[in-house]
């Protein structure tokens, strides 16, 4: 279900010499791409803003045995940032997320199957160096 972001159209934070500046065009932002480009690093930086903003919840492989599915299904008005999505999101959760217009999602993984996304909803991380600062942004996935 392709809709505009319901919580944030920009997600910005900084962590020492790293700046995260993500523009979200759609309610589900799926970030894929090569290993080692900084996806999980960005996730860890976003965990810090989740500590300050109750609207943001973050899940990764460490939550594998926890009740994250129930949390998502009971929530409204949240931005869920999910790393290791290939491990955490089964077919049922993908279907639920694809139809959820109450919450927004940033999903980091490899396989977008089941989320009903079109190619222009798939993104890769781009990093640029400006002096000592490394800036992470999103670019459309090159498929």
């Amino acid at each position: 279900m392709k809709i505009k972001p319901v919580i944030f159209d920009k997600i910005q934070t900084s962590h020492t010499s790293f700046v995260v500046d993500l523009t979200t065009d759609n309610n589900i932002t799926f970030i894929m791409g090569d290993s080692g480009v900084g996806k999980s690093a960005v996730f860890s930086f976003l965990q810090e803003i989740a500590a300050e903003d109750k609207r943001i919840r973050c899940f990764n492989y460490l939550d594998n045995k926890k009740n994250y599915k129930t949390t998502i299904k009971k929530s409204k008005g949240k931005l869920f940032i999910i790393d290791n999505a290939d491990v955490l999101l089964d077919d049922n959760m993908r279907h639920y997320i694809s139809l959820d217009a109450e919450n927004q999602y940033v999903i980091i993984g490899r396989n977008p199957t089941g989320l009903l996304l079109s190619y222009d909803e798939l993104y890769e991380l781009e990093s640029t160096k400006e002096g000592n600062i490394v800036r992470f942004t999103l670019k459309k996935c090159n498929i």
């Binding site: 290993s35 080692g36 999980s40 690093a41 492989y61 290939d86 490899r110």
Partner: protein, 146 residues
Amino acid sequence: MITVYKKKNIPKGIELVKLNDIYFNKYTVELLDERAVFYISKIDASEYVSKYMIKSRFGGEVLNIDKLSTGCKTLLNIFYNPDIIFDIRECGENALDLIYALPEGNIYCDYPLISFDMTVVRVAEKKEYRIIDEYDELKEWWASEN
């Protein structure tokens, strides 16, 4: 060559690891040696400094080796633990290309996940192993019910 397993064909008694980050951080890290340098450089563009440290591609900071990407950790798990099967579903294309070129190791995924650079693999059938040297044949084997 690597060996590819599907869910139904995993022999009893062989461990299947799905959470590669945790396995790497707890076990594989203790096995690393100079052979890891190449893979860490190729996948994460980082420099292996010592057993527990890498120099990041971003700004050159020295970081704990737990900051390697999941794809790189998965490859190192496969490389250093040839008696265990590792799930490759979180690997990016760059990690996949190198995994399919490993001299040995065991991989698993629920669905076909194949490097375009693959040359030859061994696949686990129910009671025996078979050699496959074509992308399309491997994809067909992986997607089939048997």
